[in-house]
């Protein structure tokens, strides 16, 4: 394994989010497309209301009316958190003990609590599998990140590709 010791070395800055009224199927599609574990649900002020992940989506399938449910209907309010300065092995043990697959680092700005970064089980697997540290260049709070305009262009291009992909079906 490459030399990364603490949670902050493997965290990803920037967290997948959605609105409270997001349909469950849309949330599921996002998690599949982006290979993500969960989404944080933000209210209009940017305050984190809860979390919806693969577990909540699968549990919702047991309900007869799951087709009409939204993220807010099935979210968990307790967002699992972890301090960035603890060792990665301790965080992995915590994740296993608490039976969760993601931890967040939350920030409080003027009373608004929002997610700043996350550490998922996938990050541990990538660390385990990495042949050298260059494979983890996008992880860690010191990782080089896209500028806002680059991020916008990336989202725009992804949306265009999705639209082109679905164009023949309509």
């Amino acid at each position: 394994m490459s030399e990364r010791q603490f949670v902050r070395d493997l965290m990803k800055v920037g967290v997948p989010k959605c609105a409270p009224d997001t349909p469950l199927a849309e949330a599921a599609q996002f998690l599949l497309d982006q290979d993500q574990e969960s989404l944080i649900i933000l209210d209009q002020d940017g305050h984190a209301m809860g979390i919806i992940g693969q577990t909540e989506l699968v549990e919702a399938m047991l309900q007869d009316d799951w087709g009409s449910l939204t993220a807010m209907d099935v979210m968990r309010q307790d967002i699992p958190q972890v301090p960035p300065e603890i060792p990665l092995t301790a965080a992995a043990q915590l994740m296993a003990d608490h039976k969760v697959r993601i931890f967040h680092l939350m920030h409080n700005a003027a009373g608004i609590i929002y997610p700043a970064a996350f550490l998922s089980l996938d990050h541990f697997l990538r660390h385990l599998a990495a042949r050298d540290s260059s494979e983890l260049d996008d992880l860690g709070i010191k990782a080089v990140r896209m500028s806002p305009i680059e991020a916008f262009k990336k989202r725009r291009d992804e949306a265009r590709q999705r639209n082109m992909g679905g164009g023949n079906e309509k």
Partner: protein
């Protein structure tokens, strides 16, 4: 009533002596939840899921571990005709994300699993069906 066989898919496979770093790489590359561990007769002898790899990561000897050292050998399986809801409840009660799907005579040769990812694909596909 949806049955598990309608969503289940073949799992990736590896050998008992495969290092866990390679198992992790396989699961990440294929975006799968669990890998079936095979012996020299190509029979399934265990399963390694992302959860086992997480627990292994926390061990001091992680770099020396192989699939055989961390695999689950208690291979509870569902008949392909089992209702989907029964399998979902079973997975949630045990806090696992995969279930082996096989009829009794072929338990050793089956590498078919139902995972959360298959369920999410179904959930998302239903959304597109409604939109169209």
């Amino acid at each position: 009533m949806m049955l598990v066989r309608e969503l289940a898919q073949p799992a990736p496979t590896c050998r008992t002596e495969t290092p866990i770093a390679d198992v992790a790489r396989l699961l990440l590359q294929q975006r799968e939840e669990a890998v079936a561990i095979l012996n020299e007769l190509n029979e399934i002898v265990g399963m390694v899921s992302r959860s086992e790899l997480l627990r292994a990561y926390a061990r001091e000897d992680a770099a020396q571990l192989t699939a055989a050292m961390i695999m689950q050998t208690n291979l509870t399986h569902f008949d392909p005709e089992t209702p989907l809801n029964t399998a979902i409840r079973w997975m949630r009660e045990r806090n696992v994300r995969w279930a082996l799907i096989a009829s009794a005579p072929e338990i050793l040769s089956s590498k078919t699993v139902l995972t959360f990812r298959h369920l999410l694909r179904y959930l998302a596909a239903e959304h597109h069906a409604v939109k169209e």
